[in-house]
């Protein structure tokens, strides 16, 4: 317990205050001050708490750096939240390298996205509502990353789920958007089910849900006790092997939030929200929650090789699958969405082989370049009158030189071209996977490495496809669009037509993009590059997060320096091959860019996610609907309504009708009945006396 860390409460607190301000005063201020001034004030008030949160996070970073190497954490308790013996859940946060890194990313990248959003949403009538949700999103995400116990983490976990629902369906007047919000929420609930069961199991096994010990939580710490406590359960079948099931259940939660494997479905549909929302969900906040949670609970995962292998396999499979799907997309944001799914797969692949620090490092660099790509695509979308179909773009580098320059940084970064940020994290992941033979066996490690490398090639390739279709190809395809005649209304978005001239966006839109471009360029080399080139310089990120996540996985091989160079060379070669392949095919042959031409062959299949989405829709949505109808007809209407609700009164009514004539109202009738009764009783007494 260290009171100098009490300042940490302001990080989520300020975002929460910002949320309250927007929610309570937002509309009033806009009405009062007029749209232009009111929106400017509200935008500033939305950015300020996040920016201040970033400053505080930097201060926290200093404080954490100053802590001794053996106990680099501080637990701050606000109050006791749940105290039902034996469950003790204080409302407390944890400041350690991992949470500070996440705070910096969430407030830093999130803050830049806020700045961007003030420009992007400037024309929207629901400006206050947007920033209400936006600030709340950040507040919940900070609760999630700072929580010192799984229950409080779950609060943030659900909170970001709620905000994603609200934001994806932000333009709710279009039913499609509302449905996408529903989809995100429902798919996430499937994952939350796993996370909740995981929390319950943790509590059953440990008797506590606190991550690090403090006097207020009874000095319990599941992470520190895990090896001892779980050791008792090896071979004890009564709880179904919690060593395996705890990480699996937690991972199901992570799969939902981080859009992995079978539960990735919601994320591409999350594109229905405004672009800053996509950037915030995809880069800085929600989807990284799963990776963060797995890294945070890494001790629980490391004890089970099977669980680790599952994480790695799901991650690798998702990375490859989503990368292929990205080739079939024409919506510029959907390409990026599948790219996010794929990159998250990478992060889980890293976690699966025990390289949690590397996975988190990829979270950070990915936050830089994916936010950049999303915001850049948002700038393109704004310039193209809210058209997202890449088949209608082309030659935009002529019109949007700044956006193009920034996007090139993001493109090269995600492709893994050194020395940009993406190279360092991605190459490190591949190297760690390569060295995982001791853990899973050489064949598995080779297979995972091959998938990882193949994904890297595909990533470079589809990103090049996107860049080429949007910026580089010479023909300006929107010129071929049919003429639209519309009234020039200043308030409504005008449509894309052949006479449209794309323009660079406002200052507050492209400045965050430029800052993110800078981060994408230098972020990797500053954080990690030193150690690779000169052993004298440390790998800052790994050194810093060492206390939280970098544990020695016993079987992971340490690669020799020449081998690392070789692997790095292979990665770069893969990226270059991917880029070259795409440039060749998209320069020479305009393939799928022809307007209005339906794609065929494997691209069509990729577009439909190889039939997966349809399969899920048929299996769960359609069949589920049918099942619900059966339940309604037979169980609800048939059994409950007919038998219980209406049947019982009907029975009573029938019996009542049957015996009603007995009540004649004639006194003599009643007297005769009494007489009859008396005779029967006396007779019975008499007969029993005789019988005795």
């Amino acid at each position: 317990m260290n009171d100098s860390f009490a300042i940490v409460w302001w990080v989520p607190g300020l975002a929460l205050l910002g949320f309250l301000f927007q929610a309570m005063l937002g509309k009033w201020l806009v009405d009062r001050l007029g749209a232009a001034l009111g929106k400017r004030l509200l935008g500033t008030m939305a950015v300020l708490p996040i920016a201040a949160g970033f400053v505080i996070s930097v201060i926290l970073l200093q404080k954490v750096l100053a802590l001794p190497e053996t106990a680099k954490y501080a637990v701050q308790t606000l109050f006791t939240w749940i105290d039902v013996h034996p469950l003790l859940v204080p409302f407390e946060v944890l400041v350690d390298p991992l949470s500070v890194v996440m705070c910096l990313v969430v407030t830093g990248v999130g803050g830049l996205i806020h700045v961007y959003a003030t420009g992007y949403m400037a024309d929207d009538d629901d400006y206050p509502r947007f920033f209400t949700y936006f600030n709340l999103f950040i507040a919940f995400m900070l609760v999630l990353v700072l929580a010192n116990n799984l229950v409080l983490m779950f609060v943030g976990w659900e909170g970001v789920g709620l905000c994603s629902y609200l934001l994806i369906g932000f333009w709710y007047r279009d039913v499609f958007n509302a449905k996408c919000g529903n989809k995100a929420f429902i798919v996430n609930r499937v994952g939350d089910w796993g996370f909740m069961l995981g929390i319950f199991l943790v509590f059953v096994v440990f008797g506590s849900v606190s991550l690090y010990a403090s006097p207020e939580n009874g000095g319990r710490s599941i992470l520190q006790e895990a090896p001892d406590v779980l050791a008792q359960f090896f071979g004890d079948p009564s709880l179904g092997n919690p060593v395996f099931w705890i990480p699996i259940l937690l991972f199901i939660g992570a799969m939902g939030k981080s859009a992995q494997g079978p539960l990735y479905l919601w994320l591409p549909d999350a594109m229905a929200g405004p672009t800053p929302v996509s950037a915030l969900i995809h880069a800085a906040t929600m989807v990284t929650a799963g990776v963060y949670m797995v890294s945070r609970c890494h001790v629980l995962f490391e004890l089970s090789t099977e669980a680790m292998l599952l994480v790695a396999v799901v991650g690798a499979f998702t990375a490859l699958f989503a990368a292929t799907v990205a080739f079939g997309q024409f919506d510029i944001k959907k390409v990026l969405a599948y790219s996010t799914v794929s990159q998250l797969g990478y992060m889980f692949l890293a976690c699966g082989v025990g390289a949690f620090a590397t996975g988190m490092f990829h979270v950070v660099t990915h936050a830089f370049f994916k936010a950049l790509l999303f915001l850049g695509s948002g700038a393109v979308i704004m310039a193209m009158a809210h058209e997202q179909d890449m088949r209608k773009f082309g030659n935009l580098r002529k019109y949007l030189p700044i956006t193009y320059a920034c996007m090139v940084c993001g493109w090269l970064a995600i492709s893994g071209i050194p020395p940009l940020a993406g190279f360092w994290s991605k190459d490190e992941i591949l190297a760690k996977v390569f060295g995982a033979g001791g853990m899973f066996g050489d064949n598995a490690a080779w297979a995972l490495y091959a998938i990882g490398l193949g994904t890297a090639v595909l990533t470079a390739s589809y990103m090049t496809r996107m860049m080429w279709m949007t910026f580089v190809q010479k023909d300006e395809r929107w010129r071929k669009l049919p003429e639209t005649h519309h009234h020039d209304d200043a308030h409504s978005h005008h449509e894309l037509d052949p006479h449209h001239t794309p323009k660079e966006p406002y200052l507050c839109v492209w400045v965050p993009v430029a800052v993110l471009a800078l981060l994408s360029v230098v972020g990797g080399i500053v954080l990690a590059g030193g150690g690779f080139i000169l052993p004298a310089f440390p790998h800052y990120f790994e050194v810093f997060t060492h206390f939280s996540v970098a544990t020695e996985i016993a079987h992971t091989a340490h690669l020799s320096v020449p081998l690392e160079w070789l692997l790095a060379g292979v990665s770069v070669l893969g990226a270059v091959v991917g880029i070259a392949w795409s440039i060749r095919s998209y320069r020479v042959q305009p393939q799928d860019q022809e307007l209005g031409v339906e794609v065929e062959g494997w691209r069509a299949k990729a577009f439909a996610q190889w039939g997966y989405d349809g399969m899920i829709t048929r299996t769960f949505v359609d069949q589920g609907g049918r099942f619900a109808v059966v339940l309604w007809r037979w169980f609800d209407a048939g059994l409950i309504d007919k038998v219980f609700v209406n049947g019982i009164p009907k029975l009573i009514e029938t019996v009542g009708h049957a015996i009603r004539p007995l009540q004649t109202g004639y006194v003599r009738g009643y007297a005769a009945a009494m007489l009859f009764g008396v005779v029967v009783i006396i007779g019975w007494v008499f007969l029993s006396a005789v019988a005795r």
Binding site: Q663, G665, Y666, V667, R668, A671, L675
Partner: protein
């Protein structure tokens, strides 16, 4: 001395007569008279029992040995008188409203 069975036979006869009257008569006045008849049948058996079976556990106190049954009779008569007073009052009230006092007519009060 007349044996106990003689008294009880007459009592049972009177009681049955009363029950029959209550069941078959429609005039509430007659019904009341029949109830009186049943009460008196009971009174008769009470007095007869008191006479033939004095309380063996009591000591020489006359009131305790013989008069227990008589006291019951006094109580029954008092309660019967009170009941008839109330009953007649009700019958008067009904008559004022409906101008007749047939008991079957009262069946409108049935459930």
């Amino acid at each position: 001395m007349v044996p106990l069975s003689g008294y009880l036979t007459i009592s049972a006869f009177l009681f049955t007569l009363g029950v029959l009257g209550v069941i078959i008569k429609r005039n509430p006045i007659v019904v009341f008279m029949c109830i009186e008849l049943m009460l008196n049948a009971v009174n008769l058996s009470l007095v007869a029992f008191a006479r033939h079976h004095p309380n063996p556990t009591a000591n020489a106190n006359l009131a305790e040995t013989v008069l227990t049954g008589h006291m019951f009779v006094i109580f029954v008569m008092a309660v019967a008188a009170a009941e008839v007073a109330v009953g007649l009052g009700i019958i008067m009230a009904i008559y004022r409203v409906r101008k007749k006092i047939d008991v079957d007519d009262m069946s409108v009060l049935r459930g």
